[in-house]
Symmetry: C2
Subunit: 193 residues, 2 copies
C-alpha cells in the first residue's frame, strides 16, 4: 500500500529514506478507501487531511449558484489532493473532492505532516520540489486560460495531460477547461478534418 508513496518521496529527494524513516512514514499515513462518487471533501467542511492518491481518480470542483460544477483539479495515481487554503487557514472549503473511480488514498493531517517534516529532511525537500513543480504547472495553466481560445486550450491539454483523457469523460474535461461539453464536442468534431 505505501510503496508508491515511499517511491515518490525517494524520487523527489536526494537522500533515500532510512528504514526508520520509512517506518515512520508508513505509521503516519493512514490508508483510506473511497468508492466511486464518495467524497473526500465536501463544500463547507474544513479540509483536515492531505491525501496521496495510491490508486484511482478524483476530481475537485466548486458548484455555482446555478448548480453548475466547475472542475479545478483532476487527480490520479501519485497526485496529492487537498484544499490547501482550507487546510492551512482552517476555513470551510469552497470545493468538493470526490472519487471518480474507486480510489485508495494515504491521508495525513497538517499537524502530523509538520511533525514528520521535523523528523525527515527528505520530506521537506520533497515538498519544496512539489511546490515548485506545482507553481510552474499553475502558471502554465493560468497563462493558457487567460491567453488562449477554447480550441487551443484543448490542444494544449491533450498535449500535456494525455493520461487524463483516458480516465475522465469529455464533459469533465470540458469543465476543467472552463468550457461547456457542447463546445468541446464541437471543437473535437472540427479537429477531425
Amino acid at each position: 500500500m505505501h510503496e508508491n508513496l515511499l517511491a515518490y518521496i525517494n524520487h523527489y529527494s536526494k537522500n533515500p529514506l532510512s528504514s526508520e524513516e520509512e517506518a515512520l512514514v508508513i505509521a503516519t499515513f493512514q490508508p483510506k478507501k473511497l468508492r466511486k462518487k464518495q467524497y473526500f471533501l465536501q463544500e463547507g467542511d474544513v479540509c483536515k487531511y492531505a491525501s496521496f492518491v495510491v490508486k484511482g481518480a478524483m476530481r475537485q470542483y466548486s458548484v455555482d449558484d446555478k448548480g453548475i460544477e466547475h472542475i479545478v483539479h483532476l487527480f490520479i495515481e501519485n497526485y496529492w489532493a487537498s484544499d490547501r487554503e482550507s487546510t492551512i487557514m482552517l476555513t470551510p472549503s469552497k470545493y468538493n473532492i470526490d472519487a471518480w473511480e474507486d480510489t485508495e488514498l494515504l491521508i495525513i493531517t497538517r499537524a502530523e505532516m509538520l511533525d514528520l517534516m521535523e523528523k525527515i529532511p527528505a520530506l521537506v525537500e520533497m515538498i519544496r520540489l512539489m511546490d515548485e513543480r506545482n507553481a510552474i504547472a499553475n502558471q502554465r495553466r493560468l497563462s493558457s486560460t487567460i491567453s488562449n481560445s477554447a480550441e487551443k486550450r484543448y490542444e494544449e491539454f491533450v498535449e500535456n495531460h494525455p493520461q487524463f483523457i483516458q480516465r475522465f469523460p469529455q464533459h469533465i474535461i470540458a469543465s476543467y477547461l472552463g468550457i461547456t461539453k457542447e463546445t468541446l464536442s464541437r471543437i473535437r468534431k472540427q479537429a477531425l478534418k
Copy 2:
C-alpha cells in the same frame, strides 16, 4: 535599501535573523534599478535572477502571434518577481517583465539562493510560507478565471487587489483579467447604477 527585505523575511519566519545572517543577506542580494519601461526579463532569455521589489511597480506578460500582450502578474513593493519555470529549468522564458514605474529591486541568482538557504533556516521557512501563500492565491485566481463572468472577476479583483487599481491603468487591469480594455470600460460604466 535592504530593510524591506529583512523585515519581510522576519515577518515570514518564526525566528528573527541574527546579525550575521542579516549581513549575509545584505551581501548577497544585489540592488538593481530600472527606469520605467526597462526590462527585468525579456522573452527568449533565461531568467537568471529572482527579484524582490523594494520600490516601484512591474508587470509580467506574454505576447501572442497578433502582438497582443497578456498580463499574467503584477508586482509592487514586497512582491517577488521572476519566471520560476525559466529560472529552475534553465529554459528560455515565454514572458517579459518590465518596469511600469521607476523600480528598485534586490536580485539574487538561484545558486546564491540555494546557498543562502543552507546557511539561513529562516529563509527556507519564508520560502515555504511564500509558496503556500502563492499556491492559495493562484488557486483562487484560477478558480475565478474558470468559473466567473468578466464582471464578477473584476468585482473580485477590486475586492482583493485595491492596491493594483491605484498603480496600474485600466487597460493593464483588463489584460490581467483576460478581457479587453473596451469590455472593462463597459463593465465599469454598467456598475455605476
